[in-house]
């Protein structure tokens, strides 16, 4: 069994393209071309070059000595927080903007929650001189002012999503509606491994550079390609997909996915999709999602805006139900304390999303010889206000 997408975009029983006919030509054009384009030498060359010179790759694989000592095991951090714009998101937007150019598109749309993917999209659009519209929930616009300002500086138009709960899921709906209304000249840059096929597979491939680098970096440092564990936080799941990608079909590498439990998995304010979700359709994909018995999609909660999504990518739904990955839920409090711990021990302020991944160190006992790679998906600058409020700094 493979844990990657099959030709129709299914991961086991999850995935596919559950889209209205209005979107069929757009996604079909992408589906028919994405693998061919990604395989073109000229595409690869430009992608690799930009990742190196513009994003700053390869990102370091850093041995966290003090953290390792505290937990009496061996912990490496994959430093995606050092990417340009502050997180792994830009790996995907670089790939997709080049894809859009190859497809002859002149206009880019994107959705964003906290604004990280919006900033990463606005950045590559500025780089390429392409028109950019970012949809963002009205509520998120109010609480993420610095990222809204960044997008505006970068020349993007930020359009408020006024429907539904006015957050990430509604911003995604608005972006999809825009694509329905502009089917010919527009490319939709989805920010995670969600949405209809081929998006989950395409985004996972663009993010797979993370585990590609981990492999050779680990060989350099430890003489082996495979860690015992690879750990990542999962909202939609793009950083996790990238960190797992080259290990999916290597059973000796254990995969740990960390979800946001919010105020507690059963508190009614949570984003732990694996624990609370049922199979269903969200944003064109069959996956696990949080919903009422009646099939209405519900609003998740997490202190971290990047994990605040009611679904999870189909790859992760499959990793969960097949048992390939172990899913652990971490509360707001646990994540915030883990973020502070990492800051004090290693001098690195993580994004609160990534803090969730570090909190598992208190949940799970590792052996002294275990080799653990934790994907540090983003830096905490954007979360300073939340840290200040939480710790009364």
């Amino acid at each position: 069994m493979s844990y990657n997408a099959d030709k129709k975009g299914y991961y086991g029983e999850f995935g596919g393209a559950f889209i209205p006919e209005m979107l069929y030509p757009n996604t079909e054009e992408l589906r028919q071309n994405y693998l061919r384009i990604m395989d073109e030498p000229s595409f690869k060359k430009e992608f690799d070059q930009l990742l190196k010179d513009y994003v700053g790759r390869p990102t370091p694989l850093y041995f966290a000595e003090r953290l390792s000592k505290k937990y009496n095991t061996k912990i490496y951090l994959k430093r995606e927080d050092l990417c340009h714009t502050g997180a792994h998101k830009v790996n995907n937007t670089i790939g997709q903007i080049l894809m859009a150019k190859k497809l002859g598109k002149h206009r880019i749309i994107a959705e964003t929650g906290a604004g990280q993917h919006g900033v990463a999209t606005a950045t590559v659009c500025a780089l390429m001189g392409i028109e950019c519209v970012v949809y963002m929930g009205e509520i998120d616009i109010a609480r993420q002012a610095p990222n809204v300002a960044r997008m505006k500086m970068l020349g993007a138009e930020v359009r408020p999503a006024l429907s539904g709960s006015k957050t990430l899921k509604d911003a995604t709906n608005e972006a999809i509606r825009d694509w329905i209304n502009n089917p010919v000249d527009t490319h939709y840059i989805i920010g995670s491994v969600v949405g209809p096929h081929p998006y989950p597979d395409m985004v996972a491939r663009f993010q797979s550079v993370i585990s590609e680098e981990i492999k050779w970096q680990l060989r350099e440092k430890e003489g082996v390609e495979n860690p015992d564990y690879v750990v990542a936080c999962v909202g939609g799941g793009s950083n996790a997909a990238g960190a797992y990608y080259h290990y999916l079909d290597v059973p000796e590498v254990k995969i740990i996915a960390v979800e946001a439990a919010g105020k507690g998995v059963h508190s009614g304010e949570s984003a732990a999709t694996s624990a609370l979700g049922q199979m269903g359709i969200i944003h064109g994909s069959k996956t696990l999602l949080m919903q009422t018995q009646d099939g209405q999609i519900t609003e998740p909660y997490s202190i971290s805006a990047g994990l605040d999504y009611p679904g999870v990518g189909p790859m992760h739904a499959h990793l969960f139900t097949s048992g390939r990955a172990e899913f652990i839920s971490i509360t707001d409090d646990e994540a915030m304390n883990a973020g502070l711990m990492l800051t004090k021990l290693e001098g690195i302020i993580p994004a609160i999303e990534s803090s969730h991944a570090f909190a598992i160190l208190d949940h799970k006992k590792f052996e002294p010889n275990d080799l653990i790679v934790i994907n540090l998906s983003g830096r905490g600058d954007k979360d300073l206000d939340t840290y200040i409020d939480y710790f009364n700094l």
Partner: protein
């Protein structure tokens, strides 16, 4: 024979009206259906509200949000409709998104529809290939017509494939848009209507999206079998209430 097919064999152009169940008020469903039949409408699409209606513009989004807030849900809609065939004979279609149907259980949903006397379903985000593979036999077992959409961007080859899979009518989306977005039809639409007409499809076509008044109804039905009005009807209901349904229908034809 299924009431939809029977109606389509009759003379004249079909006027189909969409409304969102549970809107304006939770228990308006039956009365709206009865009023529409009384005023000479040919076909009714009962909208099963969904939290995330991807293909809909602001009007239907707002009516769906309001309907859910009012307390509408799948089982309640079936409850409201259980005696509907005692009072109306008009063809009835349930239109909604796939997830609520999937959660109810597709077969259980189809069975309830048959028991009530629903004639067909429109589920825009249930794609052709999945329908054919997993659900075609279930729909047929319960006598339900499944209606597929086509758009100006749909290729001729795919339209023919959809025609093959259809057994009632084809829902012809008038332009590249969400519901309620366009105002008036131009040369672009005319070319599209002509192109589809020239394909000589087996199934009749009914046009939806952008039909708001008598003029657009006329234009849409020149080379097709009928037209569907949704957003414009909901706007009218919002503004004028249920008592004025006949006024609205009179402005169309």
């Amino acid at each position: 024979m299924n009431r939809i097919k029977k109606k389509l064999k009759g003379p004249g152009k079909i006027l189909s009206i969409y409304f969102t169940a549970g809107y304006p008020a939770l228990n308006d469903t039956v009365r709206i259906i009865e009023e529409l039949e009384k005023n000479g409408v040919d076909l009714i699409e009962i909208g099963l509200p969904f939290s995330d209606p991807l293909a809909d513009g602001p009007t239907i989004q707002a009516s769906s949000t309001a309907a859910l807030k009012n307390g509408m849900h799948t089982e309640l809609l079936f409850e409201q409709l259980k005696d509907i065939r005692k009072t109306v004979s008009i063809p009835l279609i349930i239109m909604g998104y796939f997830n609520p149907v999937f959660q109810y259980g597709v077969e259980a949903f189809c069975k309830r529809c048959q028991d009530i006397g629903i004639d067909g379903l429109i589920l825009p985000d249930l794609p052709l290939d999945v329908y054919m593979k997993d659900y075609d036999t279930i729909f047929k077992k319960y006598g339900l017509v499944n209606v597929f959409l086509i758009t100006p961007q749909t290729s001729d080859a795919r339209i023919k494939e959809i025609d093959q899979a259809s057994d009632g009518f084809i829902y012809m989306v008038s332009s590249a848009s969400t519901t309620g977005a366009t105002s008036g039809f131009g040369a672009k639409q005319k070319n599209y209507f002509d192109r589809i007409s020239a394909l000589k499809l087996n199934n009749p076509q009914i046009v939806g999206f952008g039909i708001t008044n008598s003029e657009t109804f006329q234009q849409a039905t020149q080379s097709t079998s009928g037209a569907i009005i949704g957003s414009a009807f909901i706007k009218h209901l919002t503004k004028n209430g249920l008592d004025s349904i006949s006024d609205f229908i009179k402005t169309i034809r």
